[in-house]
Amino acid sequence: MKYLVNIGLETHVQLKTRTKMFCGCLLSTESEPNTNVCPVCLGLPGALPRANKEAVKFTVMSGLMLGCEIARHAEFARKNYFYPDMSKNYQISQSERPLCLGGSVEIHEGGVPSGAPKRVRINHIHLEEDAAKINHYARHSGVDYNRCGTPLMEIVGEPDLASPDEAMEYLQKLREILVYAGVSDCNLEDGNMRSDVNVSLRPEGSAKLGTKVEIKNMNTFKGIHAALEFEIARQTALLEAGGAVVQETRRWDGDLGETFSMRTKENAHDYRYFPEPDLLPVDLSEEQVEQWRKALPEAPEAKRARFQETLGLPAYDAGVLAAQKPLADFFEATLAAGAPAKLAANWIMGDLLRLLGAASLDVADLRTVTPASLAALLKLVDAKTVNGPTAKALLEEIFKKGGDPEAIVKERGLAQVADSGAIEALARQAIEANPKPAAEFRGGKAASLQFLVGQVMKLSKGKANPKLAAEALRKLLS
């Protein structure tokens, strides 16, 4: 029998606010343990939480980017559990009245670019607080509450994903959108984006979802892919042997490449949600939501389409340039500084990305080449003031040391010699110095012209316009 797969992801995303969700403690991964803590995030008796407006804004912005309906009335709730990572013995979360409802992420069927467009539904997005970090040592464990209270947005997806590859594309698209919106760094190594993954199998033809298994707290895309592949194979074998899948939480062991049943009371959780009495509800006005909507960046999909339609870029170029917001911003700033679109696209995707790659540098951290200096260089290329090789060398130099291309060209006399009188003089010189190739060209050997063009370039110290040089030689040798 053939089985169909249903995968659903609940993705926790740390928001990029300066301070924690319910207190003014600084958010930083670089601080010494337990230095960004106060009575609120330590859960001391009597301390009262105050919700961070920026976190509400970021969650609403994410909802708008993902096409959610924004709740006009949202409430916080207590999720009760007892574990040392949560000092209060409850996590402030949202249950009945989350901030965002519905929404979707667009992917391709099969998770491949050639697949038909597919909408993966989002059930809702709610806002909550992260737990503390527990470090394990040989004889004891230690708790660092710096992370406790970090604003965490949970994006609860519907089980619409049909394969590990689709799950990958969903996560990549989600990450792209959230980084674009500027609400999170979505840095996987830092655990900025962690997912609880659920997967179930059902026989082909059956509409009813099978029994699901959950794998919690996965923070790498590769790990999620591998865990899903393993779990699908495990459940398939189980069903084919006439067995049944048990609803449970399993743990992924990346080293062994297997999931293991967690024989704890994990499955017997009873969170006893109830309304958080220390926090008032959030009622968002139409004007407030509209104001935040106006501040939204263009979504990556929309940017790709615009690059193709209004700038005439090929789909591939538009895809590469729109994939990361810093690169797209750099590209657009270069155009705004006067560079022609296709030329800018070629140079950014080619030479600039190559230089960045070799230097292991991110475009966002690039300080030497600026959109203005790149545009100035490309204007020189476009006006044929400098030839290709000179421009390439100039970009490398500016990449290393910075500088104004126009000034460098002027200072060193790098401008391409396009004066036909000067080029003709050089061509004459080249012919006189190389009578044999000149005679060969006259005799019909076309390749000898290339040699002579090379000689003209040499005499001009690389500054001659090669096309004009060839023309001058042809004229003199005809």
């Binding site: 403690c25 010494e32 106060c38 919700a51 961070n52 009760n80 008032l280 959030v282």
Partner: protein, 95 residues
């Protein structure tokens, strides 16, 4: 309503309370009437009435995203039953 609506053993398991059988029995007996008293509310017909969760019709008491001073670590760790120089210390948890 009888005290069977409250499972003291289950609540203790959730709250990590370690009670003796005698204590369990006592709480089962003593908490029963309290739960029964609250349950009187469900005798009323409340269809169409929204639960009152907040005492006052106030909303949107939000904080600007501005850093405020935290406590110094010595103070933070002073009350802990056990601590290292930098962290709260507890028996090793096996993941």
């Amino acid at each position: 309503m009888s005290d069977s609506s409250l499972d003291v053993a289950h609540v203790c398991a959730l709250a990590h309370f370690d009670l003796s059988p005698e204590e369990m029995a006592r709480f089962q007996r003593e908490l029963g009437p309290i739960v029964a008293y609250v349950n009187k509310l469900s005798e009323l017909d409340l269809t169409g009435i929204e639960p009152t969760q907040y005492g006052q019709p106030v909303a949107n008491v939000l904080r600007e995203d501005v850093v405020e001073p935290s406590l110094d670590r010595e103070t933070v760790l002073r009350n802990a039953p056990d601590a290292s120089e930098t962290e709260f210390r507890m028996p090793r948890i096996v993941e």
